[in-house]
């Protein structure tokens, strides 16, 4: 029957409802600040929002959005190829290209559209794509649509990438290599120096998704490629406006002039309405703030290190290095649900992640840190986890 394949998910939703827990789609009833809100009736610290620099609630960004809504209206009501290219969109494309020091940029309506659209379009039948095994769902969706041969290399393993490039022979020259800056679930950073070295040895094109690293890494906040000093080796950088920039949308920048032709071949760009001008205006302001206020990144990393060290000291199975994403890995679904619920009751909202959204068979309590978190808030989050450990709900043995 058509609906049989949804039964397992339906049963899981029934189980969650029976346990009176709502980890997926928990409703935020009020936003108090960039790091505080009322979720499911409780006032909580927001520690699962990807709002890395806290700019979603920045007064300057809000003012720009309000001003743009007054001047342009609430939406464009059309595609960029029809009536939906306003001067705001063009200005943002110019500004994001300048931010990355390249000449070409495309702005998309979502980050998902940016990565899936680019990956679906850059390579086609007869081409070959090599992607990190832990790539985001939007990348997998895009490459599946491309019609190209899709080869996975082991997560963050440049040796495996090199082996697979060697096996391709002459085809490696035109291969599209796909990696991310910071991986969204565990917060681990790609070994980009080594990946760039593989590209220099075998050829190919490098596409990098900086969704979680833009604004968080690099001397001027461009991301992991800048931090690794390999920007000249990157052919395409994609990213999102819905994390460090605090709004919604996505982008792709490139030094290749061909991006201007590629633009007109991307279905995820052509056949959807463009972002509302208020979104674009707040994004432009956030981009200006990122460039002007590098101290935000320092605060973000101070907070990330504090949370990572605190959870690690409790014996919990966190990722390999400190990062704005600090995920606690768990092996038992039921315990993970109990812990998520207990954290919410203690006033801390985090993300619960279940396979296949997590990169292994593990379950995750995923925390994301913001520059807007106070030291006291970070300590409250750590204390909430410590309480779970003390109450026996969460033990280091349960997280592996």
């Amino acid at each position: 029957m058509l609906f049989d394949k949804f039964k397992e998910m339906a049963d899981f939703q029934v189980e969650l409802a029976r346990r009176e827990v709502k980890p997926f789609g928990a409703v935020t009833e009020k936003i108090i600040s960039a790091t505080e809100g009322i979720v499911e009736g409780r006032e909580v610290i927001l520690a699962g929002t990807n709002n890395y620099l806290g700019l979603s609630f920045d007064a300057r960004c809000i003012a720009k959005a309000q001003e743009a809504a007054g001047r342009w209206g609430t939406g464009t009501t059309g595609s960029r190829l029809a009536n939906g290219s306003f001067s705001e969109h063009q200005a943002l494309e110019d500004e994001i290209a300048a931010f990355y020091g390249v000449d070409h940029a495309i702005v998309f309506s979502t980050g998902y559209a940016a990565t899936s659209g680019m990956c679906a379009t850059l390579a086609g039948p007869g081409d070959v794509i090599l992607l990190d095994a832990d790539s985001h769902a939007s990348i997998y969706a895009g490459v599946t649509l491309s019609g190209a041969d899709i080869i996975r290399f082991k997560h963050n393993n440049p040796d495996d990438l090199a082996k697979r490039m060697r096996r391709l022979g002459d085809r490696a020259q035109d291969a599209l290599i796909i990696a991310e800056g910071i991986y969204s679930m565990l917060g681990d950073v790609a070994p980009l120096k080594e990946i760039a070295a593989v590209k220099r040895e075998y050829g190919g094109y490098l596409f990098l998704d900086e969704a979680h690293s833009m604004g968080a890494l690099g001397a001027t906040g461009r991301g992991a490629a800048q931090a690794a000093g390999i920007e000249d080796d990157v052919d395409f950088i994609a990213g999102t406006f819905s994390k460090s920039l605090g709004s919604i949308g996505g982008f792709c920048v490139s030094p290749h002039a061909e991006l201007e032709a590629i633009r007109f071949c991307i279905k995820a760009y052509i056949f959807t309405a463009s972002s509302s001008p208020s979104i674009i205006a707040s994004t432009r302001e956030a981009l200006r703030i990122i460039a002007a206020e590098p101290g935000l990144r320092d605060t973000l990393w101070d907070n990330a290190n504090r949370l990572y060290d605190g959870l690690k000291a409790l014996g919990l199975a966190v990722g390999p290095t400190a990062s704005p994403v600090v995920a606690v890995q768990m092996t038992d679904r039921s315990i993970t649900i109990d812990c998520w619920k207990a954290l919410l009751e203690a006033g801390v909202y985090v993300n619960m992640v279940i396979p296949p959204a997590s990169p292994s068979t593990n379950f995750l309590l995923r925390n994301s840190v913001s520059a807007a978190h106070s030291t006291a808030q970070i300590d409250t989050i750590i204390a909430a986890y410590a309480d779970l450990v003390q109450r026996g709900l969460l033990t280091p043995e349960q997280a592996a």
Binding site: V128, T144, A148, D149, I150, I151, R152, R164, R167, L168, T361
Partner: protein
């Protein structure tokens, strides 16, 4: 280039440890429906084949692979 029969023999031996039902493996044995490989086990099995024949098996051909024979045919195509 490896002979189809040699590929089959390798696949049988590589599957031995995962053949928990002790089925008699043939070209028509289905990897998931008969042997019961999980998605993770399928990927481990694919990696074993890739390293043995020094090839990469594209993900996009896997939807067409149900049986050991299907897989042997794909490996033969890739092992030109």
């Amino acid at each position: 280039m490896t002979d189809y029969q040699e590929i089959l023999e390798f696949l049988y031996s590589a599957l031995a440890s995962q053949n928990k039902k002790h089925l008699e493996l043939t070209e028509d044995t289905a990897l998931v429906a008969d042997i019961g490989l999980s998605s993770l086990e399928v990927m481990e099995f694919i990696e074993k084949i890739e390293d043995h024949f020094d090839i990469s098996i594209p993900l996009n051909i896997l939807p067409d692979v149900n049986t050991i024979g299907d897989l042997a045919g794909k490996v033969k195509e890739l092992n030109l």
